[in-house]
């Protein structure tokens, strides 16, 4: 997979240092929060779901949570994404004051939306599924957004939509390049019903204005990006990059299987599938993401 011996990047070298550094501007729970992360194995040795091999977790961690044997990309949190992509200490979070208002007073089989939000906030150390703000990539100032696929499946409700639109509007006003890394198995958030659906239109409309103003939007698809997130901002990049083997699509594989009653082809709805069908510009592994983004910004003169 690697054509040259692996050298830990600057990002991973500075990782330990970051742990003890005073947190610049952001606001989050401790960097290595103690919460058990679904999708992230615990313990020293782990079986990789990609290749089934036992891998030494410390080694995967050094590779930004990527399997050293098969390049399987494990989950990373929104906070970790910021460290992977932005220059150290440059991230300044915007619109932190926005909170869900539970407009439907939604209650499902086991809990209310409010209870669920409280649990997710505690688990992820985030106030909602999207984190937005300004930062630098190799000394270029950018507008940066990321959704955390673990926060109610990375789904988009009113707060996520509003944060993204404010991010896009600010990028338009300040002529900043825009990077949004999406991870969302949930798409539009059911708990806010039709208002979540409308966020798709709202964010897409903001991107259309940003486009008209000449902005450069780089959309990065990560595992998984589905439903209303895939069918709005994630698909609207001037450039669309995807992490290897991510699940990306509109309808969930189970829904499709239930509808057509056929086995789905191997590799269906993966990044590679999208590349083959012409919907992704490049598949970019996590370790190269920052430099690929910097390169694109260079080419597009932003």
């Amino acid at each position: 997979m690697f054509t040259r011996p692996f050298r830990p990047s600057k990002i991973s070298l500075s990782f330990e240092r970051l742990l003890f550094a005073k947190q610049p501007m952001t606001t989050r729970a401790p960097l290595m929060s103690k919460r058990p992360k679904r999708g992230v194995p615990e313990g020293l040795w782990q079986r990789c779901p990609g290749c089934g091999e036992s891998i030494y977790w410390k080694e995967a961690e050094k590779l930004l949570n990527v399997c050293p044997k098969c390049e399987y990309h494990f989950y990373v949190s929104a906070q970790e994404r910021i460290r992977h992509v932005l220059d150290e200490g440059t991230f300044e979070e915007w619109d932190t004051q926005l909170r869900t208002a539970d407009p439907l007073e939604f209650v499902d089989a086991s809990k209310s939306y409010k209870e669920r939000m409280a649990i997710e906030q505690k688990k992820c150390g985030l106030t909602d599924a999207a984190l937005t703000g300004g930062g630098m990539i190799r000394a270029r100032r950018v507008a940066f957004g990321v959704t955390d696929s673990q926060f109610i499946m990375g789904s988009m409700g009113s707060v996520v939509g509003e944060r993204l639109v404010r991010l896009i509007e600010r990028a338009t006003d300040e002529s900043l390049a825009l990077i949004i890394i999406s991870g969302s198995g949930g798409g539009a958030r059911m708990h806010e019903g039709i208002l979540s659906l409308m966020q798709m239109a709202k964010v897409s409309a903001a991107l259309a204005r940003y486009d008209r103003a000449g902005g450069l939007f780089i959309s990065v698809l990560t595992n998984p990006t589905m439903g209303g997130v895939a069918a709005s901002f994630a698909s609207l990049g001037d450039l669309v990059y995807a992490e290897p083997k991510a699940l990306v699509g509109f309808a969930g594989p189970r829904t499709i299987k239930a509808t057509i009653r056929l086995e789905l082809p191997k590799g269906f709805q993966t990044s590679e599938f999208l590349l083959e069908h012409g919907f992704v510009d490049r598949i970019v592994s996590r370790s190269r993401l920052k430099s690929e983004i910097a390169r694109a910004i260079d080419y597009c003169g932003k």
């Binding site: 606001t27 989050r28 932190t96 909170r99 869900t100 208002a101 539970d102 407009p103 439907l104 939604f106 209650v107 089989a109 409010k114 209870e115 939000m117 906030q121 505690k122 150390g125 106030t127 009113s158 707060v159 539009a188 958030r189 059911m190 806010e192 019903g193 039709i194 208002l195 979540s196 659906l197 409308m198 966020q199 798709m200 239109a201 709202k202 897409s204 409309a205 259309a208 204005r209 209303g228 895939a230 069918a231 709005s232 901002f233 994630a234 698909s235 609207l236 699509g249 509109f250 309808a251 969930g252 499709i256 239930a258 509808t259 057509i260 056929l262 082809p265 599938f273 069908h277 919907f279």
Partner: protein, 347 residues
């Protein structure tokens, strides 16, 4: 995906159907005795009363059944009842012609317009041909292509929304269902021509919104417009589609909810007992709404339409902004841990 399964005669309509049967029987008598005339008058009164009683207390789940009723007017019905001189335009010039999406020139009284709408099909054969109103990417691409044509020649666009959702299939994914829907919203938001959207039946998620970004968005009284089908939501949050009725209530997607949440501008009232009882009356109300909205929009400069349309969608969403409220509800920004949103979250 079960749009086709609406059985003839909805459960809750049985008292109405029974009275309607008796009325028909009486009406078929060529020469009625005075006693029979009196019976008929009485029966009609009773029928109206029963219908009013049942329809004034429809649950959200019953509303879904009405929205999916097999006799509910479809886009093709409105094309003949509301418009004149419909001239269909096929194809997306990229892949094919999706039968689940109709488009073409039409006249609305003196106005020349472009009509775009989902089509469900009436017979089983028609339904199969258009996948029960579930469009593929080529359907969305056809829709936006014809809308851009309309923009170029100054024709207003009218979108009739009636779909259980965009088609979930292998081909649809291969051809970029997500990208097609996203691009439609993106392009519709900046189209320099008036756009009026009406949800005439099912407003199924992204598949509906793919032709749903307009200067005016209205909904027929017993339509619904939702982020996910009640069955789908129940399957995920209640672990079984059996709970669709509860999900339908929780999702708050009836016309009154949509108006209250600021998602639609107007509810078009349906005739007593729903659009399927009187398609002509329904069509006439739809036409009135279209003409009124069109007159308003034609007074506005085409150049400013995208701006006001943007502002309209920009306002959608409900959240708390106040920093102090946010501290109390979601935990302070510095704490990073929600303290259990116990406060009253309504803003």
């Amino acid at each position: 995906m079960s749009a086709a399964t609406a059985a003839p005669g909805l459960d809750f309509e049985h008292p109405i159907l029974e009275l309607e049967g008796r009325r028909r029987a009486l009406e078929q008598i060529a020469e009625r005795t005075p006693a029979q005339e009196e019976d008929l008058r009485q029966l009609k009164r009773e029928l109206a009363e029963t219908t009013r009683r049942i329809y004034s207390t429809l649950t959200p789940w019953q509303t879904v059944q009405v929205a999916r009723h097999k006799d509910r007017p479809y886009t093709s019905d409105y094309l003949s009842l509301v418009f004149e001189d419909f001239s269909e335009l096929h194809g997306d010039r990229r892949f094919g012609d999706d039968r689940a999406m109709l488009a073409g020139f039409a006249k609305l009284d003196e106005h020349k317009v472009m009509v775009v709408g989902h089509q469900k099909g009436r017979t089983y054969k028609e339904r199969q041909a258009c996948y029960f109103g579930c469009a593929h990417p080529e359907g969305y691409r056809k829709a936006i292509l014809k809308m851009k044509l309309a923009e170029k020649y100054g024709l207003p666009v009218i979108c009739l929304i009636d779909t259980p959702g965009a088609y979930p299939g292998i081909g649809a994914e291969e051809r970029g269902q997500s990208q097609a829907i996203a691009e439609n919203m993106y392009e519709m938001s900046r189209l320099k021509t008036p756009i009026i959207c009406i949800v005439i039946g099912e407003g199924g998620s992204g598949g509906a919104l793919g032709i749903g970004v307009g200067d005016r968005v209205a909904v027929l009284q017993y339509s619904y417009y939702s982020v996910i089908s009640p069955e789908g939501c129940a399957g995920i949050l209640w672990k079984s589609a059996q709970h669709a009725e509860r999900a339908a209530t929780a999702l708050k997607f009836t016309s009154a909810d949509l108006l209250r949440l600021g998602v639609v501008d107007h509810i078009i009232e349906e005739p007593l007992g729903g659009a399927h009882r009187d398609p002509h009356q329904t069509a006439s109300r739809v036409k009135q709404y279209l003409l009124r909205s069109l007159r308003e929009l034609l007074n506005q400069s085409r150049e400013t339409l995208p701006q006001t349309r943007y502002e309209k969608f920009r306002r959608m969403g409900v959240f708390l902004e106040d920093a102090a409220a946010a501290m109390a509800v979601g935990g302070g920004a510095g704490a990073g841990e929600g303290n259990g949103m116990n406060g009253d979250g309504r803003g």
